[in-house]
């Protein structure tokens, strides 16, 4: 496997987001692109990231290759990435090489961990409400609400989306709609569900690599956040609800 991305910081942010949920992960590379998926240790979040071959400047893969890696180690290396860096990741003799370049090269060799192909579960959920919005808007709202409480109540009413926190000191609600410019599009019926704020907040680093996010949920159903990435790539996060 060999891949090169011009925007190293976007890729670094994707790995940083995965690192918010998991210690170790596997990259499954095919001719189509790479996929990173798994369930967090608290078994509340299932994440599935897909970066198609077209996402990269250069891309090579066998029919199927699977590499386990430590996110802590990878993210320690990727923290060094600066704005104009490009990044090349390639495997070689039991090592994952990370080559960060901005005129001069910095090469890091990390061990490949033994791993099996993650079993991707099937969910086939019918979400009664879906909306699309700018990632910047979504992450700003979540950042504002994060400090007010640890429970996020999401509800939809007449095509509008409400994000609400009930904290010790008071309540806070943000209304987003196509009318006020908060949503790009929305469809579906009325619903209400509760989620752990921390899980939603931890998807925030996706703000940098992704411009738009699709939010789907239903009463007592998981929250699905699809961060859309260039060239048909995506980062899906399914967050299980809290059911009173």
């Amino acid at each position: 496997m060999k891949l090169k991305a011009i925007d190293a910081s976007a890729l670094a942010n994707i790995f940083a987001t995965v690192g918010e949920f998991m210690n170790e992960a596997s990259i499954v590379s095919t001719k189509d692109g790479i996929r990173i998926s798994g369930i967090d240790p608290s078994r509340v979040v299932f994440l599935d990231i897909f970066l198609p071959s077209a996402y990269f400047e250069e891309y090579e893969s066998e029919e199927k290759e699977i590499y386990g890696f430590s996110l802590k180690e990878v993210n320690q290396v990727l923290k060094r990435v600066k704005k104009n860096d490009s990044i090349t990741i390639y495997t070689e003799q039991e090592k994952i090489n990370v080559d960060i370049s901005d005129g001069f090269e910095r090469i890091f060799k990390l061990p490949i961990l033994g791993s099996s192909e993650p079993q991707n579960p099937s969910m086939n959920l019918e979400f009664p409400f879906k909306a699309k919005l700018l990632t910047a808007v979504f992450s700003e709202v979540i950042s504002d609400l994060f400090n007010l409480g640890d429970t996020l109540i999401i509800s939809s009413k007449e095509q509008k989306l409400y994000l609400e926190v009930r904290g010790d000191l008071g309540n806070s609600t943000v209304e987003l709609s196509t009318d006020n410019g908060g949503l790009i599009e929305s469809e579906g019926s009325d619903a209400t569900s509760i989620y752990g704020m921390e899980y939603v907040y931890n998807t925030a680093p996706m703000r940098k690599p992704s411009d738009t996010v699709e939010l789907a949920f239903g009463s007592q159903l998981p929250l699905k956040l699809r961060y859309e990435l260039p060239q048909g790539g995506y980062g899906d996060f399914y967050i299980a609800p809290r059911v009173e």
């Binding site: 240790p41 608290s42 299932f46 579960p121 959920l125 921390e198």
Partner: protein, 407 residues
């Protein structure tokens, strides 16, 4: 801290026990202080005794701080150890006895700068603090020792203090091999704590060593206020244990553990889950710090991130992690601490560490579901608190897992 209304004390004067306690804490303290000051030879301006050891580095005025080298006047040898002996105190000593021990220790106050580490080492004051046996010393004191009786309602288990012109350690401090080596090793403090703890060193000695600047990179060594050192050592040990525990298989049943001491009642619930902790404190009306029933809680997630730093929580957490490491299991953990009015004086967080440690040796029941365990603990609580309404517990009970939505 619990404030006994001063009006009550003034009316009572220690006789009617209007505060509801079995004996008057103010008088207990006063008696201990008087007994102690009677043993001080004020004419000679000398103070002799053996430190158990007990040394406290204050934080006021940092980096110019005061160090209290505590000793019971005229008490030497093993008898001196009883004045600060948390492991042995547990379950044997009452709160009054502990207050009395603490109030009988005279603080020789030494003014120091945080960089004076090697000076204190040369005088063996630092070494005395980590000795396994009491260390005899002689001090030249300045000024007066006064037996104070304050009617402000606050009761602190601290004895009289006196400014020390000179403190001379006359016995040889007895150090463990690990300490003898690590004092001279140039390793960072986290590594040193890890090594000392693994070698079986008592946590209180590690705290004293950290506090007196005996651990860490040599050029960075500083005196560390004791209160900070306690939490630093708990978090260093916790970090080491958590890295190990996180990787273990989870417990497969819901287990409830229990223990009580000094008016503090602990229930610990372990349930099948990845590591995460919920800490709930229930302060009864008229217990320390609180005039009404107060419930406070905090959560720690799988990654070891907690809502806020709480010294009591850190101590309890260390003991639970020690147990999980011993049985090689991971778990979701709920610790419920009830503080009743019996706990009228702040004694530090050592008793939390020790009581939770003892609780983990005392499994009281096993259940199939967490709901049943919560109900069981609920029925045993002294305070009228609905545990399922406590925010952090409700979060645990209501959180679904994503697997339940897989086909």
């Amino acid at each position: 801290m619990r404030k006994i209304p001063a009006e009550l004390c003034v009316r009572c004067k220690g006789k009617k026990l209007l505060c509801g306690l079995n004996s008057c804490p103010i008088l207990e303290r006063f008696r201990a202080v008087v007994n102690t000051t009677l043993r001080i030879d004020l004419e000679s301006k000398r103070l002799d005794g053996a430190t158990p050891p007990s040394v406290v580095v204050g934080e006021k005025g940092y980096p110019n701080i005061s160090l209290s080298f505590n000793l019971p006047p005229g008490v030497f040898g093993y008898e001196a150890k009883e004045y600060e002996n948390p492991r042995e105190w547990w379950g044997r000593k009452s709160i009054n006895e502990i207050v009395s021990y603490r109030a009988s220790l005279v603080s020789n106050v030494i003014k120091a700068k945080v960089k004076d580490v090697w000076e204190l080492y040369d005088k063996e004051i630092a070494l005395a603090a980590i000795s396994h046996t009491p260390v005899g010393s002689e001090s030249l004191i300045e000024g007066r020792v006064e037996a104070k009786l304050r009617f402000d309602g606050y009761v602190m288990p601290r004895g009289p203090s006196v400014l020390a012109k000179n403190v001379k350690v006359v016995d040889n401090p007895k150090l463990s091999k690990a300490f003898e080596r690590l004092i001279f090793d140039d390793v960072n403090a986290q590594e040193a704590v890890k090594e000392l703890y693994s070698s079986g060193e008592e946590v209180y000695k590690i705290i004293n060593a950290m506090s007196l600047g005996l651990l860490g990179r040599k050029k960075n060594r500083r005196l560390v206020p004791t209160r900070w050192a306690i939490t630093a050592v708990d978090s260093a040990i916790g970090k080491q244990l958590l890295e190990e525990v996180r990787g273990y298989e989870s417990v497969d049943k819901v287990e409830v553990y229990y223990q009580k001491y000094l008016g503090n009642y602990f229930h610990v619930i372990l349930y099948p889950s990845a590591y995460n902790v919920t800490w709930v404190e229930i302060w009864h009306p008229l217990s320390l710090w609180s005039s009404e029933l107060v419930v406070s809680d905090l959560r720690e997630n799988f990654w070891g991130e907690y809502d806020f730093m709480d010294g009591g929580y850190m101590a309890a957490r260390t003991s639970v992690l020690e147990y999980l490491s011993k049985v090689r299991r991971s778990a979701g953990v709920i610790i419920i601490r009830e503080i009743t009015p019996e706990y009228f004086a702040p004694l530090g967080n050592w008793h939390i560490r020790e009581t939770v440690r003892k609780a983990m040796e005392n499994k009281v029941s096993t259940f199939d579901t967490l709901e049943e365990a919560i109900k069981f603990v609920q029925a045993r609580l002294r305070g009228k608190v609905n545990l399922t309404e406590v925010k952090s517990i409700r979060s645990v009970l209501t959180q679904k897992t994503i697997d339940s939505f897989f086909k």
